[in-house]
Symmetry: C2
Subunit: 340 residues, 2 copies
Amino acid sequence: MKDTFLKACQGFKTDYTPVWFMRQAGRYMKEYQKIRQKYDFLTMCKTPEIAAEVTLQPIKILGVDAAILFSDILVPLEAVGLKIEFIEDKGPKVYPNIRDEENLNLLKNIEIDSLDYVFKTIKILTKELEVPLIGFAASPFTLATYVIEGGTTKDFVNTKRFMFAQSEGFHKLMDFLTDATLNYLQEQVKAGVHALQIFDTWAGILSPFDYEVFCKPYVKRIINKLKSVPVIYFSSNTAGHLNHLKDLDADVLSIDWRIDIRDASLALKDQSLQGNLDPLTLLGTEEELFKRTEKILIDGMNAKSHIFNLGHGVNINTSVDKLKKLVDFIHEFSHKLRRI
Amino acid sequence: MKDTFLKACQGFKTDYTPVWFMRQAGRYMKEYQKIRQKYDFLTMCKTPEIAAEVTLQPIKILGVDAAILFSDILVPLEAVGLKIEFIEDKGPKVYPNIRDEENLNLLKNIEIDSLDYVFKTIKILTKELEVPLIGFAASPFTLATYVIEGGTTKDFVNTKRFMFAQSEGFHKLMDFLTDATLNYLQEQVKAGVHALQIFDTWAGILSPFDYEVFCKPYVKRIINKLKSVPVIYFSSNTAGHLNHLKDLDADVLSIDWRIDIRDASLALKDQSLQGNLDPLTLLGTEEELFKRTEKILIDGMNAKSHIFNLGHGVNINTSVDKLKKLVDFIHEFSHKLRRI
């Protein structure tokens, strides 16, 4: 198995900068669209053969250094008694919503067997893949925002009202989601994933103060229990939270494009970093794309180790050809960099 | 006139921390709702007597230290030939949209006289107010996102495609909007505003690298030409951009809640700061609200001078009573702080 990605996860300097992309399996790819025309999104997630096939597509087509399980951060919510729906172009829907302590009883202990399709997909993939497989889950806080809001919102009014008006109840919800998420991730490890990524997509809606109170302790609890595979912690919009990410003990911190990776490497000494190209750079000229990529690769040399990624998922308007060229460019340029 | 706010803008330490709120005139207030029932939003902006009355409401009711002109960042777009619409709960609409260089000819030089209602409102207010009046405009980049997208969007795909695919054309658009914005702000100064705030609501969608290329030079050009009144530069989601804000020469930098004001004051030495309470803290208990307010007031003492504000506009669900209590708390606590 090609292990450059895993070496970088473990903090070793690598011969070239490994790369994978968040949402690398997705609608921007015609091979994906072909399958998507026959099955809805959730069916694709729940059918191990299909989920595995879709996971494999970008590995073959793009030549990336790691695969990420095709699934969704919301699927474990079904296993705790909630309903989820994915409506094209409208974003996900979760219900019923839990917006106060009284409604916490709508949640039941996680039925981990009901997520067996995920573990089956992992087992198929680990046999077929020539690159490491990344499993994943949302952070408890990010998951909580969906449970509370029912989807993504502009201001997260219900989440914050719950948090600031009934903080004890909110902590109970976080406790519950932390246990469920940990269980889910541990089962992914048992099934064979080589690394894990925790998606904290909405951590950045919190002030650093509130991040310490309502979000970080729960991420820390999960990371501390996952010692057998490297853990990547991705958080979005958290340039102001860097000081608070230091002691999370994540093997890799994945950052979005709203901060220079050089600044992050200076603030987070001796930390492996992942990131951080603006995904929409891919909609422009190759000149602009490669200029920004070069800068990230050069600056990334300051980190303990560096895995190239976008600061967010691949945009649906992205050209597959351009993305493939980007992968080749990253491999070649970063290899040359190391020989200077 | 109560001049504590202006003194803080000029970098002087004040007897207490002055406070005003973005969107302090708004739908959370029943006095506003009463007028809003009779007139649509744009009519309110365009009728000097009404705009003045609505501007005055929060001064009387909350006891804040500054007034901000009741208007909208999009009104100058009508003066350059575009149409704007405000649909309740749907956000603003701007058209036709300019998404490439060819369509730049849809713009015409600003007809500053057509914005006379703004300058009339300012003239009424400066006679009636006992606190300073803040005029405002969007930054050229933030204005550009509306011109290009037609409203607010999740990913700003069209803005970034234009930017990265036709950077020269994008710079022409920025040039045009910079001249128009400067003209508009200069006329507000002539009409009598005591300070200006530039709203860069969407600066934070750019990487620091792209902020330097596509956004900052234009803000700088405006700030350099506005020397007769203090200029506050508000940018959202820019915790990772702090290093790049230093040399803007804004009298005050206004930050959102996604960074500790103490961290900002350390990064931006000898800089006056404004901010930075999460507006949704107001939806919780007074205990949580005052705890976070105290921290900001204490940390704000590290800045050259500090003006209290929210990190974003007042949320519609905010209780007027609680907001008034917050103003009183800020005045009393910050006064006590200075006597320790």
